[in-house]
């Protein structure tokens, strides 16, 4: 998707993203939905949870980086998102050190 057209904003100097980038992102999301539904039908057992969450993570990233402009924002926004997600991972990780070894 790196080839998507961007146009310099004449006022703020920030980049405007071409419509084609958004439509490609949407197509990617539809394909990933089809993949996750298909994989769920394969009954992979334990792996099915892992793949479903992984695909959901990729879809969420597409929405974050393209639809929510994270790719085009100042680094501050990305840092804030990573810190929040990091906090969430710590909460979940710490809880599971309790649940799994109880």
């Amino acid at each position: 998707m790196a080839g998507g057209k961007t146009v310099k904003d004449e006022h703020s100097g920030e980049q405007h993203v071409g419509y084609d980038v958004y439509i490609l992102a949407w197509v990617a999301l539809l394909i990933l939905t089809a993949v996750t539904v298909t994989v769920a039908g394969l009954h992979l057992g334990r792996l099915s949870v892992l793949t479903a969450v992984a695909i959901a993570g990729v879809k969420a990233s597409v929405v974050l980086f393209f639809f929510m402009h994270l790719k085009y924002e100042k680094p501050l926004f990305r840092t804030m998102v990573y810190v929040t997600l990091g906090a969430l991972v710590v909460f979940i990780g710490l809880t599971f050190t309790d649940i799994l070894f109880r």
């Binding site: 419509y19 539809l30 769920a40 949870v49 926004f77």
Partner: protein
């Protein structure tokens, strides 16, 4: 007469601050749902078997359809923002209306889906459900609270987008105030607004002791080429909210409908 040199006082709008504030709010939302996802993953680990059977009750087709609806609504939302930045106001509002319609379609599907569950006797604390294993009760408890909270967010999103559409439909005014004419200089006179021919369009009451400031406020409407994205912080922030609601559904969908 130094005060009359046209000191323009514009509206102070903190575009970057508004956007950062919106993101911080979205983080609190993320942690709110994060807590529920944590609860889900713990109970799923401890009651794997029951979750497996309970999830089979859910209609994958409806879930998939709602996923496609929300993903498409995210596309129309982001296109609404992009077309507004390109000063295509009517297209932007049409795309916003489409986004709202897709949000309502999602809710209608949800209504029928929940309705079908209720008809089968599956609702929190129902007789039917209480006869089932603990894990299945937990699964449906989480299902109703998480998709319910998400549904509430969709309703809030639809209202927010409707307000945004109306505000976007109005052209934003820009305002310049030329202020602080020394009153002493025009004490005892009238202030008048003249047309190019010198004919008075409007004239004030006489300036006397009761007046302590004279200012001229110009209000004008920008043409499309003056449209700046800073003027549409509300539209962008409403879009960010809508995309977050989409992201939460992206996780809810596989965890409730697909993992059987």
């Amino acid at each position: 007469m130094s005060a009359t040199t046209g000191l323009a006082i514009g509206h102070h709008r903190d575009y970057a601050g508004a956007k950062i504030g919106m993101w911080v709010f979205l983080f609190t939302e993320l942690l709110l749902f994060g807590g529920m996802f944590l609860l889900y993953s713990v109970y799923r680990t401890t009651h794997a078997e029951d979750f497996h059977y309970a999830a089979q009750e859910l209609d994958t087709l409806v879930g998939t359809m709602n996923t496609l609806i929300l993903l498409t609504s995210s596309l129309t939302m982001v296109l609404a923002v992009a077309t507004m930045h390109a000063a295509k106001r009517k297209t932007a509002i049409a795309l916003l209306a489409l986004t709202i319609a897709l949000g309502l379609w999602f809710l209608v599907n949800k209504y029928f889906e929940w309705g079908a569950k209720f008809e089968h006797g599956i609702y929190p604390n129902s007789e039917f459900l209480l006869q089932h294993p603990k894990g299945e009760i937990l699964f449906f408890g989480l299902y109703f609270s998480m998709t319910g909270l998400h549904g509430l967010h969709v309703i809030v999103g639809v209202i927010l987008l409707t307000v945004t559409a109306f505000k976007t439909a109005k052209r934003p005014y820009e305002e310049v105030v030329f202020g602080g004419a020394g009153v002493a200089a025009i004490d005892g006179a009238r202030v008048a607004l003249l047309d190019p021919a010198g004919k008075p369009l409007w004239s004030s009451d006489p300036i006397d002791d009761s007046v302590d400031n004279v200012a001229v406020r110009l209000k004008y409407r920008p043409l499309p080429r003056r449209v700046r994205k800073e003027d549409y912080a509300l539209l962008e922030n409403a879009g960010l909210y809508w995309h977050l609601v989409d992201i939460i559904w992206i996780f809810l969908f596989p965890l409730f409908y697909l993992i059987t």
